[in-house]
Symmetry: C2
Subunit: 368 residues, 2 copies
C-alpha cells in the first residue's frame, strides 16, 4: 500500500505525465460548457434539440440509421444484447472471456436479463473466425470488442473481421460492436467508423476514453433496435429528465479530439518502441500498438516496478504510469493510453527517462 | 394540437408564470457550478470526496446510517425493492395503483427484476391502514409515496403513517418511502425528514422536483441495503465514472431551496384558495394542499380550458398552466407546483387573473 501510494503520488506530482489527457476534474465539464448559451433548453426524457441533434450526428458518423444517447456503455450494451436476444428468440450471447460485461458489470446481463453467455477464445488472445464457427445455433449474438482492451488493445486483421461478419450474417447470428475505443482504431485500420460499423448490426461508442469527455455513450443501429432501446433505457432508470451535461460535453470532446486519433496512434507506437528497446525484462503487448493504447509487462514484481517507476518520475520528472498491478506469471504490468499529455513531454526528457528505466531494470538484478 | 400549442406558447411568453422555479435550461447547471473550483476532482465510479460528502450529508439529513447517490429515482427504487425482496426471500411488493413504478417506468420492476406487484387502494384515494392489513404474508415490501403525486399530492394523517409503519414492522413487511417530494411535505407534517424516514426501512429522495436541480436521487437506509444497492447500481449501468454534474447541482439546489419549502407550501394554499373561490366549475384536489403542489379540476372540456387559460395569460400576463389534460369524467385538469416564480407575481395581477378566469368559466355557459 505504501509503495503504491508513493507511485501514485510521484505520478501526481511529476512535471511530465506521459499518459492520458489530463486530470479528471470539474474543469473538464466547465471547458465543454464555455461556448454553451445558458438559454439552451434541457433535453426532457430523451427529447429535445440538444440530444436529438447529437444522436443524429453520431448516427451519420457511424453510418447507422439511428442512434440513442445513454448515460453508460454498461446500460447501452446490455440493452443491445437483450434486444438481439428478443428479436431472434434466443437467450445466449457470445463474447471474449475478458469482455467488459464479464469483468466489470457485476453480471448485470445475467442478473437483470437472464441471458446466458458463451466465452469465446482464450483469455490471452483475440477471437478468431474459427472460434466463431464453433458457435451453436442457439447463439443470438456475438459481441466483438475492438480493440480488445484487456489484452493491450489488440486488433484482428480487417479481413478476419469481414470474415466473421459474413459468417454471422449467413448463420443469422447478430453481431454487436463494443466500440468503447472505436475512434482510437480508425487510423490503424485506415477505415471510417461507418465502414467498420457496416460489418455490425449494432454498435456502442464511448465519449470518455480516447475522447476524454465526462461520461456518456451512444448505441447505433436499425430503428427497430434503437426504438426498443429507449424503452429499456427507461426500464433501467437511464432515461433521465436531463442528460445534457453528458451530451454537451460528449459533443464538445468529440469535435475537439476526433481529428487527433492518428497522432495518438503514432505516439503510442513511438512510446511502445521505447519500452521494447530499453531492457530485456520489459515489453509491450501488443509489440506494436494498434491504437492509442498498449499494455506493458515487466519480469519484476509489482513492488519492484512501482519503486522503479516512482524513481524515474522523481529523478526525470517523467511519469510513465500512476499504478502497477501484479500479473499471474509473477511479473507486473500496467496500461498506457496516449492522450493530449504526450505531446507536451520534451523528447530529451523522455529519452532520459527510458535510459534510466532500462538502467534501473538491469541494475536491480531482477530475473531476466 | 393547435390549441395546446397556443396555451404552451401563451404560457411561454407570459410575463408572470405562476408555477415552477424557472425554465429548465443549461443555466440551471451553470449557476450550480459557479462556486465550484475547476480543480475539484471527479468522483470515480461512486468513490471520491464530492459524492461521498454529499451522500453523508443526505444520510444525516434523512436520519439513516448510509445514503447512495443514483442518477435516477427509477433506478434507485427498483433496486431498493429488489433488495427488500431478496433479503426477505419474497417476490412481491405493494404500492398505489398510480405509483411512478406503475405509470412511468415501462414495467422495469417486472421486466428486469421479475417482481410481482399488488396494487393497494383505489386510483383516486390514498392507501389506508385497512388496505395494508389486507396484505398477504408473501409481500416483501410496501412502497408509500408521500405525497401521492397523481392525486394532487394528498397526504395521510401522520398518525396513519405511524400505524402503517408499526403494522408492517410487526408483520415483517418492509416499508419503503417514495420521497420524490419528501422535502415538500415537511412543513405540513411539521416533522423533520429524519422523523418521517424513521418510519421506513429505506427512503428515496429526488433533487429536481421541489429543489429544482438538474437530475439525481439518493437512496438511504441500513448499510446492508446501501452496499447491495451499489452492486445493483453497477448492474443497471448507473455507476458512472463521473456523476459530479448531478451531485454538485443537487447539493447546490438542496442548500438553495431546502429552507423555502414552508413558503412554497403557504403559497400553494393561497393559490388553491383562489381557484376554489373563483367559480363553481373549478376546484383543487386536494381542497387544501398538503405540500407545494395540487391538481386543478374543471367541469369544462380540455379544449375549452386551454382556450380560457391562454386568454387569461394573454390578457393579464399571468400564466396559470402550460398544459391541460382531459379527465375521465369529461372535464379537464392540470397540476400546479409552486416554486420560486410565484413570489414574483404581483398580487393584484393574480387577483385580476382569477377574476378573469372566473368570468370566462361562467360566461362560457359551460356545464356547472
Amino acid at each position: 500500500m505504501k509503495d503504491s501510494m508513493t507511485l501514485a503520488d510521484a505520478f501526481q506530482n511529476c512535471k511530465y505525465p506521459v499518459v492520458g489527457h489530463g486530470k479528471r476534474n470539474v474543469r473538464v465539464l466547465l471547458e465543454s460548457l464555455e461556448g454553451t448559451d445558458g438559454d439552451t433548453a434541457s433535453d426532457m426524457y430523451g427529447k429535445g434539440d440538444t440530444i436529438e441533434r447529437f444522436e443524429a450526428k453520431m448516427a451519420a458518423y457511424l453510418g447507422k440509421p439511428e442512434a440513442v444517447f445513454f448515460p453508460s456503455g454498461t446500460m447501452a450494451q446490455q440493452i443491445a444484447l437483450r434486444i438481439h436476444c428478443d428479436e431472434t428468440g434466443k437467450r445466449k450471447v457470445a463474447y471474449h472471456p475478458l469482455s467488459h460485461l464479464e469483468l466489470y458489470e457485476e453480471d448485470g446481463l445475467k442478473a437483470l436479463h437472464r441471458i446466458e453467455t458463451v466465452l469465446l477464445a482464450d483469455r490471452d488472445r483475440l477471437i478468431r473466425p474459427e472460434d466463431v464457427r464453433d458457435l451453436e445455433d442457439d447463439a443470438a449474438c456475438l459481441l466483438l470488442e475492438l480493440p480488445q482492451r484487456e489484452i493491450g488493445g489488440q486488433l484482428p486483421p480487417y479481413a478476419e473481421l469481414e470474415e466473421i461478419s459474413a459468417y454471422c450474417r449467413s448463420r443469422g447470428i447478430r453481431l454487436h460492436l463494443d466500440g468503447a475505443r472505436l475512434f482510437e482504431i480508425l487510423p490503424h485500420y485506415e477505415k471510417s467508423a461507418a465502414e467498420i460499423c457496416a460489418l455490425f448490426d449494432s454498435a456502442y461508442v464511448s465519449f470518455y476514453k480516447g475522447l476524454g469527455g465526462v461520461a456518456g455513450a451512444i448505441l447505433a443501429g436499425e430503428p427497430a433496435l434503437t426504438e426498443r432501446s429507449k424503452v429499456w433505457k427507461r426500464r433501467h432508470g437511464g432515461d433521465l429528465i436531463s442528460l445534457y451535461p453528458y451530451v454537451i460535453s460528449s459533443d464538445y470532446y468529440f469535435d475537439k479530439r476526433i481529428g487527433k486519433m492518428a497522432q495518438y496512434y503514432e505516439e503510442a507506437m513511438a512510446l511502445a518502441e521505447m519500452y521494447n528497446g530499453c531492457a530485456d525484462t520489459i515489453r509491450t503487448v501488443p509489440a506494436v500498438p494498434a491504437s492509442n493504447m498498449f499494455h506493458v509487462h515487466a519480469d519484476v514484481s509489482k513492488e519492484a516496478l512501482e519503486s522503479i517507476l516512482a524513481g524515474v518520475a522523481e529523478e526525470t520528472g517523467v511519469g510513465l504510469s500512476a499504478w502497477v498491478k501484479a500479473l499471474d506469471d509473477g511479473g507486473s504490468g500496467f496500461e498506457a493510453t496516449i492522450g493530449d499529455r504526450y505531446a507536451a513531454v520534451p523528447e530529451d526528457r523522455l529519452r532520459s527517462a527510458f535510459s534510466l528505466l532500462g538502467h534501473k531494470l538491469k541494475e536491480g538484478g531482477y530475473r531476466a
